[in-house]
Structure formats: structure tokens, C-alpha cells
């Protein structure tokens, strides 16, 4: 059964730019798809096509089982949209904005009013409800826009970078709202630049670049593809680096990478936390003091960088990778991400 959002072969060009170049998407009902990709990849264009705002040059799309191209107005009844840039009327108050949207969703004036109040409270805008939106901060506008997308609790939602510009607390709260919606059966297509967000919310992730899907799968699948676990050690004494490397190589599944200046050794491993404990014990036995040690797993950032970095180079040199079989593009590019800057996955203290 095709999902609540289903698209095949979407193509959209703007002059020379192929913003969408044969995109297939399927989002099963009640799940979240995270659409990732660098700036200009075509994420917003995809959202605009799926929300009836833009006619694709070719391809088909169904939302909630309805043909987007043939019956756009029926699709509009089933979707909520929060675009990349907050679309609220600056001169209307928050309350007026939401009431207007409710009425345009064909709610009665009374219900629209009640609903506006609920949403204002839920998005912590109740205090500012009767101020024109132009007096709102960027994050408040963003929240008002998101509230507008939720006025009728539509079965299918589209959010284009919903948490851009939100502070950590509001981001956290929005995630909770989204999780609540999804547990209620809403299907969501979410674009984001925050990979942590995709990791937390999305059941499936789809990475696009240059209008093509270059990888898809669950967050774990994508991470596994980018490369496995590594143990990273920073030794106290640079003179013991060689000994330590020897020890580490004993546990490694591949070649050790040594950064002398940083006194850091990184080795690929399998075995997780248990192995980490063994490494610590062994280093201790040999009398090698350590400043820091940790088990690193690839983050979505690693996945993103390796995928899109690779794809970008490839697109310049040859056009060999077809849109759908992108996953292969991920293999063998695990290097370059090994430095683990700020990858705070399961750090084990000394």
C-alpha cells in the first residue's frame, strides 16, 4: 500500500537548475520522513510540489491517497504546511492570524476561535496573543506559523525547517508537539538542517542533493553505512604513544590512525562498551595514562558530510550514480569524518 505521501519521478526545473531531478518518496502513514540535504538541494521545492504550491514538470504525487496534480483542493483539506519562512500576517495579532486560518479551513467562527486559543497556549504565545505579529521575535513568529499549520490537525503535515531560529527550549517543546501528533497517527514530512532533530524524530531519512535522492534508510542504517564504531584515546604522555598504538592495534578491526600533535589514537572496532572497558584495563595495566577515551559512533552529521561531500564531487566529475541507488555512494568514505569533532556519542570518562 502506498504511504500517506507518495511521489514518483518528480522533476522540477527552474531555467538551468534541476531543483528536483527524479525524486521518489514514500512516507508510510503515521511515520516521519526526515528530508535532509545541503542548501539548494531541492528540499523546499519538494515540499512545495507536494503541498500543491508548485507544478512539477513531470512525475506523480499522492498525498493522503489523493492525486496532488489532479485534485489539489482535496489535498489541501488534508494537509498542514509550515514553510521555510514564517508566513504570518504581520499586522494581524497572533489570535487573528490563527482564527483566519481556521476559518479558511472552513471551521466555524466559534470553533476557529476556540482552536486559536488552544494553539496559542500550546505554543506559549498566549501572552502575546493580542499583539500584532510584527512585534513578535523571530522564534515567536516561527511558532505562530507552526500553530497555523496545526489548526485543523490534518492527517498529513509538511514542515520545512520547523525549528530553525528556535531556542533550545522551544525546539525541545516543538519536538514534543510533533511526537504527540505522530503518536496520534499524523504523517509528517520534515526537512531540517539539524541532524539531531532528524535522528530524534524521523523514522526514515532521505538525503537529497542536486535534486536527487542519494541515500535513504533509517538513521541507524545510514550510520552503519558510513562506518562503524571507533575507539579514540588521548594519551597523557606523548612518549608512550607508540606503546599505546600497539595496544590499540590489538583491539582494532583495521588500521590505527595516530595524530601525534593531539596525542590521539583512533581505531575502528566492534564490540561496543564491553570492548571499551577492556581497552581501558589494558592501557592501565601497561601504565599508560589517558586524558580522554571514548567510543565514537558515526553521527548523522558524519553521514551527511560524507554523503553530500562525496556526491558533490561526483556530480562535478561524472554522472554515474543514478538517483535511486544512492546508498552505494556512501561506502568507503568513512575517512575524513574520523576526527570526531564534537561527536559526543557515548563518551566514556576516564
Amino acid at each position: 500500500m502506498p504511504g500517506a505521501i507518495h511521489a514518483e519521478g518528480l522533476v522540477k526545473t527552474f531555467g538551468d537548475v534541476r531543483a528536483l531531478d527524479g525524486v521518489d518518496l514514500d512516507v508510510p502513514t503515521g511515520t516521519v520522513l526526515g528530508l535532509l540535504g545541503p542548501n539548494g538541494a531541492g528540499k523546499t521545492t519538494a515540499v512545495r510540489v507536494l503541498t500543491t504550491l508548485l507544478q512539477p514538470d513531470s512525475g506523480t504525487a499522492h498525498v493522503a491517497g489523493i492525486d496532488v496534480l489532479k485534485r489539489p483542493n482535496e489535498v489541501r483539506r488534508s494537509i498542514g504546511l509550515s514553510g521555510q519562512f514564517a508566513a504570518v500576517d504581520e499586522y494581524l495579532t497572533g489570535r487573528e492570524n490563527l482564527q483566519m486560518v481556521g476559518q479558511l479551513y472552513q471551521l466555524s467562527a466559534r470553533v476557529a476561535k476556540i482552536r486559536a486559543l488552544e494553539l496559542l497556549e500550546r505554543f506559549h504565545l498566549a501572552d502575546a496573543a493580542d499583539r500584532p505579529a510584527k512585534t513578535y521575535s523571530g522564534g515567536m513568529r516561527r511558532r505562530l506559523d507552526l500553530a497555523a499549520a496545526l489548526v485543523v490537525s490534518p492527517p498529513v503535515m509538511f514542515m520545512d525547517e520547523p525549528t530553525t531560529g528556535l531556542d533550545p527550549r522551544n525546539r525541545q517543546q516543538l519536538w514534543e508537539v510533533i511526537e504527540e501528533l505522530v503518536s496520534g497517527g499524523t504523517t509528517l514530512l520534515l526537512t531540517t538542517q539539524y541532524l539531531e532533530e532528524a535522528d530524534r524524530l524521523a523514522h526514515d531519512i532521505c538525503v537529497i542533493d542536486h535534486g536527487k535522492v542519494i541515500a535513504r534508510g533509517t538513521s541507524d542504517q545510514l550510520k552503519a553505512r558510513t562506518g562503524g564504531e571507533r575507539v579514540e584515546v588521548v594519551v597523557q604522555d606523548r612518549d608512550l604513544l607508540a606503546t599505546a598504538t600497539e595496544v590499540m592495534t590489538g583491539f582494532a578491526k583495521g588500521e590505527a590512525k595516530v595524530e601525534r600533535q593531539m596525542r590521539r589514537i583512533t581505531v575502528p572496532v566492534t564490540g561496543g562498551a564491553k570492548l571499551l572497558a577492556e581497552v581501558i584495563r589494558e592501557l592501565d595495566t601497561r601504565g599508560i595514562g589517558i586524558d580522554d577515551i571514548g567510543l565514537r559512533r558515526p553521527t548523522l552529521d558524519d553521514v551527511f558530510l560524507s554523503l553530500t561531500g562525496h556526491a558533490a564531487e561526483e556530480a562535478d566529475s561524472d554522472e554515474e550514480t543514478p538517483g535511486g541507488s544512492g546508498p552505494d555512494a556512501a561506502t568507503g568514505t568513512g575517512t575524513g569524518t574520523g576526527t570526531g569533532n564534537g561527536n559526543e556519542t557515548e563518551e566514556a570518562a576516564r
Binding site: L53, L81, E90, Y91, Q103, Q106, L117, E118, E121, R122
Partner: protein, 285 residues
């Protein structure tokens, strides 16, 4: 949901459609635009100052200098009474620029995207805007009439004819706001919509019988002026107000100005509404 006052059932969008929904949606949008006008009163105020300035300038600066052929006497009040219908008509056509700028602004700010993603009646965003502009125009006309009476303008044919004249004026303004809507949808910025919405109004309002009698124009311009929808409305108003008309051309619209005005306005609404709504639906902001 924490506060489930509006239950999921009532939140399901009602399947609707047809003219009732179109009227409802248009009114919701019109209300929104009227609220905006109240919050940006400068726009309304400048909209008022301009025609008042015209009344005062034309009445006192040109008043004695422009004779109205066919009217005896060089009393400036003759020209003032002749002029007023022209100023009224010019004032209502300026609704064009407002509609255009407003719609371009909505496109620019992404609001049109929000509207286009909602299950609204097709033309409601534009109809709502033009209705709001009509309200503003009506307000301007009321204030302008008062100023006109102060400088000596009078009507002579009773309430019905006077209201009919104002009806034709507002209809013309409404028709022109659809042209403005199309301009607003076609340009990229509100600034372009404002200037684009204004420039063509100058030839339109000046190659007409609004300020000077057409009898003095070269025959080529005179033909244009006689068939100008703007002239028809001006002429109709002069007749209905019982104001001086000058020498009236034999061209059909000048002989049947009320009908000509009505037909022109209806045709403009039909053509430009259809065109604008089509453009709205396919516009990629």
C-alpha cells in the same frame, strides 16, 4: 492534546464548495485586509489627502483659467462643478495601486503560499482584497464629497441619481482594483506594484474628459477619450449629479454614458478577474 475543547471531530475541515464558500472565504480575507488598513492608517490617510489636494488645486489654481465650452459665464464655480466628477473618478481608480501593492506584498512575504495551501475558494484571496479596497474607496469618496461641498460643489437631480452616480464610481474603482490585482501578481515587489499600478493611470485619466473638455483635443486623442471607460463614468456622473457637461461628443459612450460606464466596468471585472485568478493559482512566488 492537553485542552481538547475543540474535539477532533469539529476540527475536521468541513467539505464545502460552491458560491457560499467563495463568499465566506472572500469575507474572511476582506476582514483581514480591513484590519490591516486600521492598523496602518497612514495608507488610508494619504489616500485621502491626495484627492483633497487635487480638489483644492484644480478648483483654485485652474478654476478660472479653464473655460467649460457651452457653459456661459466665467464663474470659477462652473469649472469646479464640472471638475468634481473627474476628481471622483480619478480617486476611485487609485484603488488599483492599493490592490496591486497589497497583493505583491503578500506574495513577497510568503502569505500567498499559506493561502494557496489552504482549502479555500479559488478567487477568495483576490476577491477579499478587492472588497477591502472597495470599502476604503467608499470611505475616501465620502470624505471627498464633503470637501467638494465645502468648495462649492452641488448636486441637482435628487437622491436616486446621486446614489446611482456614486454606484457607478465605486463599480469603476472595483473594476480597476482587479487590474491592480493582476499587476500585483505579475511583479516581484510591492514597490514595483505601486509604481506599475500608477503610471498607466495618468494617460488613462488625462486622455479623458475628466479635467478638460475633449472638444479641444486633436481628433485622434479625442476618439480615445470618448471611448475611454473613465470618460464614460465621468460623463455619467456629471449627468446624474446635474453638473455642467460641456459640449458632449456624438460618440455612443458619451451619448449613453451610464450604460457605457456600467458595461465597461462589468467587462473589466469579468476579464481581469478571470485572468488574475488564473494567475494566482499558477503563480510561483
Amino acid at each position: 492534546m492537553t485542552t481538547a475543547t475543540a474535539t477532533d471531530q469539529t476540527l475536521a475541515p468541513r467539505p464545502a464548495g460552491g458560491p457560499l464558500q467563495a463568499a465566506h472565504d472572500s469575507l474572511v480575507v476582506a476582514k483581514r485586509n480591513l484590519i490591516r488598513m486600521l492598523r496602518i492608517p497612514e495608507v488610508v490617510i494619504f489616500g485621502l489627502i491626495q484627492p483633497i489636494m487635487f480638489v483644492v488645486l484644480f478648483s483654485y489654481v485652474f478654476g478660472g483659467a479653464i473655460p467649460v465650452p457651452g457653459q456661459h459665464g466665467s464663474d470659477p464655480s462652473v469649472y469646479r462643478n464640472y471638475l468634481m466628477a473627474g476628481i471622483f473618478a480619478q480617486t476611485v481608480t487609485f484603488a488599483t495601486a492599493g490592490a496591486g501593492a497589497g497583493i505583491a506584498d503578500d506574495m513577497h512575504k510568503g502569505l500567498i503560499d499559506r493561502f494557496r495551501s489552504l482549502p479555500m475558494a479559488r478567487g477568495a484571496v483576490l476577491t477579499g482584497r478587492t472588497i477591502a479596497d472597495l470599502v476604503q474607496t467608499a470611505l475616501t469618496v465620502v470624505v471627498l464629497s464633503i470637501v467638494a461641498v465645502i468648495v462649492g460643489w452641488r448636486v441637482h437631480n435628487g437622491v436616486f441619481d446621486t446614489l446611482a452616480a456614486f454606484g457607478l464610481l465605486l463599480l469603476l474603482g472595483y473594476a480597476f482594483s482587479w487590474i491592480g490585482a493582476l499587476i500585483g501578481l505579475s511583479v516581484r515587489t510591492p514597490e514595483a506594484a505601486t509604481s506599475g499600478g500608477l503610471i498607466w493611470l495618468f494617460p488613462l485619466t488625462f486622455i479623458s474628459n475628466a479635467f478638460v473638455p475633449t472638444s479641444n483635443m486633436p481628433s485622434f486623442l479625442r476618439t480615445i477619450a470618448d471611448w475611454n471607460p473613465f470618460s464614460a463614468t465621468v460623463q455619467a456622473c456629471r449627468q446624474l449629479f446635474g453638473n455642467p457637461t460641456g459640449i458632449v461628443s456624438h460618440a455612443w459612450p458619451m451619448q449613453h454614458p451610464a450604460w457605457a460606464s456600467l458595461i465597461w466596468s462589468v467587462v473589466i471585472v469579468l476579464v481581469f478577474r478571470t485572468w488574475s485568478v488564473h494567475k494566482y493559482r499558477t503563480a510561483a512566488a
